[in-house]
Amino acid sequence: MDLQPIIEFKDFSFQYYSQVEPTLYNINLSILPGEKILIVGPSGSGKSTLGNCINGLIPFAYDGEITGELLINHASTQDKNIFELSKCIGTVLQDSDAQFVSLTAGEDIAFSLENDNVPNAEMHEQVKKVSRMVDMQNWLTSSPFELSGGQKQRTTLAGVLVNDVDILLFDEPLANLDPATGKTAIEIIEEICSSVNKTIIIIEHRLEDVLHRFVDRIIVINEGRIIANTNAHALVSSNILTKTGIREPLYVTALKYAGVPITESIQPGYIISVKAHQCKDALTTWQASIQPPQVQEEKPTVLKVENLTFSYDGIRNVLEEINFELKEGEMVSLIGKNGSGKSTLSKLICGFEKPGQGTISYRGNDIRDKSIKERAEIIGVVLQNPNQMISKNLIFDEVALGLRFRKVPEEEIIPRVEKVLDICGLAPFIEWPISALSYGQRKRVTIASILVMGPEILILDEPTAGQDYRHYTEIMEFLVEINKMGVTIMLITHDMHLMLEYTPRALVLADGHLIADAPASSVLTDLQIIQKANLKETSLYHLAQMADIPDSTGFVQGFINYERKLKNR
């Protein structure tokens, strides 16, 4: 074949004017028409910058110095502006909510046609045509609030397909999606792209989720340089993932634990391709060797929720008949699709909303009459986005804020804040302005500012959303430390890995009902629960089934036990 590359980087470097070092060094990369490429890399590796160079946001929206050359469709991008580029490259950004600029799906799909001055009648015609391609023709008048996550993805995709672009660029398409929707998103990309034959570039750090479907090549970027450019099997077999801090697929970890050598010959790139049968013996022996953890003594109940029912409008119940208990020192996850009532439940516990029926009690005492402020001394809540909580310039002031509100004397505040900052690993930054901190550090500041009030229960909303593996591990290990000190933790999350790795017990909400209160291993292997709550079964379960291991759920639990022991939790 003698295809000309559709995208070609030649000795390409880029440096933001605001940065001291270049973000991209000497990139050489060719992408052929019709290829499907996955670009992975940890946060700050330059992978998004690379994407922004392709779609023209660099230098249109972000200034910097470019050296070398980038050719798209054989023409240098130096001579093109973002609008010309948008004719041949369609970009789907992460967070389909924020990029939904219009009030209805139809209008959003039409957005770029509007900017091209396409006459109204013709525009409606084209929108109809494209919406049929993505199966959204019956939802054109729906607002973003009425659409599911998958439908928003389809709408956004239609919004770029309407231009008949050659290249589709997805920038972290899986961030903020629940597991089932993430899976669907990858399937939609596959489905649409195989029918229209486009060049696809997916930028993502959630490797295993993208490899739910086939890709031609994977490019690994680290510290601004391309360090691998290969296929999925070769990449997974190498040590590049561990070296760059990208999470390897979970089934590969299991195979490694079982002592199976990971080589290209077992085709380990995709769960559907891996030759699990060949590994059956190793897996069985490994599973048999794992010892169940010692049964822990029963701890007293700290929080008890009984017959809780709640409704915002008095018509539809958002939560119905919820019953569960939290034991002292537990770490549980609360999962379920968007709108299932997870946030509402946490708001009820914190007293932000008042329950319609039922009781919430703390160590046997009903906390109905306690105000938000009083409850905060028992139960702390940390919002997902640290920017939503930080209101002071200096770390010390931010953490001290809750105590100052409570009129705690200043001489008592100082040691308390210092102690918390020490626990949170923020002691060296005590005098720093918050604006100088990274995202992960800011997250810690928000956790510290809650911990300082000495709550016994901590509720965290999506503590690791949008974080790469290294930051994810950092935040979670930090929470484990706090947990070990006796703080009971409830995590609201979409991340199935997190649930498997860190929380022995999971509460699952679906349409306002608590449909499961069980070990993570049984939740993630129960098809009915998975479907009802928009979850995704873990690849460990697939692996066990493909290898004909009789007790697949037991296999998943075995993996969890093994890891706990290994990491000494």
Partner: protein, 279 residues
Amino acid sequence: MNAKTKLFSYDIVDSPIHSLSGLTKLICFLLLTFAVMYSYDIRVILAVMLFAALIMKLSKIKFSQIKLMVLYVLIFVLTNAVISFLFAPEMGVEIYGTRTVVIDLPGKFDITAEQLLYSTTKLFKYTSVIPFGIIFLLTTNPSEFASSLNRIRVHYKIAYAVALTLRYFPDVQRDYHDISQAQQARGLELSRKASLFNRIKNGLLIIIPLIFSSLDRIETISNAMDLRGFGKSNTRTWYTSRKMKSNDYVAIFISALIFIATASVSIFINKSRFYNPFI
């Protein structure tokens, strides 16, 4: 969604008012507003108020949708009436040229029939204009509103900014709500227990995080818009713009008629903006 966050939300309802194009509604709104604002004739104003009530009924707006807005408006117009009386109790006398005392009060605060008429007229003026505003807001799709602004020669970037504000208003409201609850959990006092100065100071502790999280949002939106060619040419077309149909012309005709009628009453019958029954 929570009822509180639906202050300005547009609902798709099948009504004769909803089916008018945004441009029509904008023109009618302007005509009717000018009609009422120009005239100080209580008979004319009452007639227009009746018309506003009729339109309100036609547009199938439920009282529950506008309860909060009506409350704010009432508080505003009543305060306005009281304050203008306190500052200029003889305004009516000045305008109408006679002085008929109804209740004799100390100082200059006599209540005169002239002042009563003037105040009532002004009160009704506001209460007849505001329903048109409410109807316009609640029955017009924000994007269509933007497209009509654009059609009366407002630059599309400004028009679109208006639509975007309305589009993201509920999101920002939700953010505000979340932030405020999280800050209250830390002990922030927003209730009347705190002094006014402290409440303002505490309000800042919500506004600052709100600004920062909104800035994140704005960056994403503006990138998404750039990437889909917003701003590349000097004009743009609108998916939601509708062709003018016969009912649109009828509506404009009726509004124009009302405008001309009220103007004629002022010019030919009253020979001034005021209706004077005292002479």
